[in-house]
């Protein structure tokens, strides 16, 4: 029965990582829904979220951590709007490819602006080191439990916005057909801006959770983690938030089980093998549904 508890532990670690991936994947997929391009700059919002909290804690040590996280999420959310307004919206009518290539430039600018400010040193957040609490052979630290809880609450909040608010309705309409939504009298530019707040904010929160789990982190971690977020997003079907959540769980568990039973050196590779299989099984590419 030792094997069984080992597997349960690996699955648990998978769920913990999935909570970070899910937030990132849902955020990425939401902005894809209304902007229709693959955003290579998205990973930088994770790093900016994490390091905004690092900066806040350094400037004002008395600030409670949850408050610092909330400030960072809002700040990076508006940074997303600013980045979109400055770089993406002006060429939004030129199609997906110029936007995709522009996003690489944006990724470089954001990433190395952060490096220029913070240097390449690895940083941590003031989170206590804890012993895991054992329950039926599965260990989980209170901090890890909080990470899962925060991610789950954030998912619920995004679900609530999508399904039960006017913003959610117009977001879904814009995602389905931006031109039609414009004709129908929806201010789609405002919808795009609000979607960026949610999308970049979700990334910032994902970055903070990532740092809580895997500290110390360098300001360049976002770009590397992007592959994993892409894998979850594409697995769920790009533009589909609920698919992204499911994709995140599958990718998280795959990484964790692969690391535990094969080799921990290739964690990204497991995520990518899943991605390649999905792409090959559906050679026409993953269907782009609405929601």
């Amino acid at each position: 029965m030792v094997d069984l508890s080992g597997l349960a532990q690996a699955l648990t670690f998978g769920l913990i990582e999935a909570s970070v991936i899910a937030l990132g994947a849902v955020g990425l997929t939401l902005s894809y829904g209304v902007t229709r391009f693959i955003n290579f700059a998205y990973g930088e919002f994770l790093a900016w979220g994490a390091f905004t909290v690092v900066f806040l804690v350094a400037i004002a040590p008395a600030l409670p951590l949850p408050l610092a996280v909330a400030v960072a999420v809002v700040a990076v959310g508006f940074m997303g709007v600013a980045v979109s307004g400055a770089f993406f919206e002006p060429i939004a009518d030129r199609g997906g490819l110029p936007l995709l290539i522009t996003s690489i430039g944006v990724a470089f600018v954001l990433r190395y602006l952060l490096v220029a400010i913070a240097s390449t040193d690895a940083r941590s957040l003031p989170v206590p080191l804890q012993r895991p609490v054992e329950w039926m052979g599965v260990g989980l630290t209170p901090v890890q439990a909080v990470v899962i809880g925060v991610a789950a609450l954030a998912m619920l909040a995004i679900h609530g916005v999508l399904q039960y608010t006017t913003l959610g309705t117009v977001m879904r309409a814009t995602s389905g057909n931006r031109e039609l939504a414009t004709v129908a009298g929806i201010d789609t530019e405002a919808v795009v801006r609000r979607t960026w707040v949610i999308s970049a904010g979700a990334a910032a929160l994902a970055g903070v959770l990532y740092t809580v789990l895997y500290a110390p982190v360098r300001p360049t971690f976002g770009f590397g983690y992007l592959i994993i977020i892409f894998a979850a997003t594409l697995l769920g079907g790009i533009g589909r938030p609920y698919g992204a959540m499911l994709g995140a769980v599958l990718i998280g568990v795959t990484i964790s089980v692969g690391s535990a039973y094969l080799s921990p050196a290739y964690d990204q590779a497991y995520a990518f093998i899943v991605l390649v299989v999905v792409l090959l099984v559906r050679p026409e590419g993953i269907r782009r549904g609405t929601f």
Binding site: F37, I38, F40, F87, P90, I91, D93, R94, G95, G96, L97, P98, L100, I101, T102, I104, G105, V106, A107, F108, V109, R111, Y112, L113, V115, A116, I117, S119, T120, D121, F223, G224, I227, F230, A231, L234, S263, A265, Y266, Q268, A269, F272, L275, V276, L279, L280, P283, E284, G285, I286
Partner: protein, 347 residues
């Protein structure tokens, strides 16, 4: 014989690296500029070539202290250089073919993600498979052919000539290929895969050939690079290389054969010359301690002092280059706006 000193040595170095990046950019242009294939993993083919050249030419592991790699074929130099470069070219092409067989059918944006991720995995392999690559420590005794005979200065010049000749040969060969009917088919596939298929072209095979050729050219660049630097270390093959090559291609002009090489030279010259900003700053402050020196010191005072600051500014400028070229001049310096349809709106 110290004729190759100071500025001359710097120019020789920049020109040699620019020739190597010129090869990389020609390869990427063949894939993206002429065939429309979004390759975001170019560095993997470059690395495959460099490591192949290293493994074929390094001394056997028993003779190198601290070696953890298990294969070093030690082909004799300089005659073996052709062999190592052929092997590097072949390996770059084979890796591209392997990736292409699985990924080439993907819609362009998914191909971008797939190649980006595959390059990341290839990097993980280089770091982890120490028996083959010596891990992060790297293969540090790649022979520099004729270096001992010629001495450092003459060798640097000779190797520049060799790199330039390699670039010229590849430039002419690829130029012929692009003028040939095959070049028109590539453009046809780029403009409309569906139309090319209607005309009875096997578009998957054509894309695969173009992708593999681009990979082979990058592999050759890797071989030339390995014997120039004399060591092959994982830190040289990060994703930043891929995007530097992209920046060179965008700057020079997508789908412009000449532009690809010009872009590589401009970009490498820019990258290398920014290394001298601190030297120039120190010299200026020392030369004019009163007025200019005070102004400069005051201007620089609020800037962070950590060593990553200047390199990160260099990368920010490369990022801005992407943004500005796409927005204001999609044809780059030498591109033909009529040809750069890949950068416009898609179907």
């Amino acid at each position: 014989m110290a004729i190759v000193t100071g500025w001359v040595a710097f120019v020789v170095t920049v020109a040699t690296i620019a020739c190597i990046y010129g090869l990389l950019t020609i390869g990427l242009n063949l894939q993206f500029g002429f065939t429309g294939l979004l390759n975001f993993g170019h560095v993997a083919f470059f690395a495959a070539g460099a490591y192949t050249a290293a493994i074929v030419s390094m001394p056997p592991p028993g003779t190198v202290p601290g070696a953890r790699y298990m294969i070093g074929l030690a082909v004799p130099m300089p005659a073996g250089l052709l062999l190592t470069l052929a092997a590097a070219t072949l390996m770059g092409g084979v890796l591209a073919a392997l990736i292409g067989v699985s990924a080439i059918r993907l819609e362009s944006h998914y191909l971008a993600i797939a190649t980006f991720a595959l390059a990341g995995i290839f990097y993980d392999v280089l770091v982890n498979e120490r028996w083959l690559t010596n891990g992060t420590f790297g293969m540090t005794q790649v022979p520099k052919p004729l270096r001992a005979t010629l001495g450092a200065d003459a060798w640097a010049l000779a190797y520049l000539l060799f790199a330039a000749a390699t670039l010229a040969v590849v430039y002419l060969l690829v130029g012929r290929l692009l003028e040939a009917p095959f070049g028109r088919v590539l453009r046809g596939v780029r403009e409309s895969t569906a139309a090319a298929e209607m005309l009875g072209k096997d578009t998957d095979r054509i894309k695969l050939v173009a992708f593999s050729l681009g990979g082979a050219i990058a592999g050759l660049a890797g071989g030339v690079y390995a014997h120039y630097i004399g060591s092959v270390v994982t830190g040289q093959f990060v994703a930043g290389v891929t995007f530097t090559v992209w920046a060179a291609l965008l700057l020079g002009g997508v789908a412009s054969h000449r532009g690809a090489v010009v872009g590589a030279f401009i970009l490498v010259a820019f990258q290398q010359s920014t290394r001298f900003i601190t030297t120039a700053y120190d010299a200026a402050v020392a030369a004019f301690p009163d007025t200019l020196g005070v102004v400069l010191t005051a201007l620089a005072a609020p800037l962070p002092g950590h060593p990553a600051f200047l390199p990160s500014v260099r990368f920010m400028i490369i990022g801005l280059l992407f943004i500005l070229v796409i927005r204001f001049r999609p044809a780059g310096v030498l591109g033909d706006p009529q040809e750069v349809t890949v950068m416009g709106s898609e179907e």
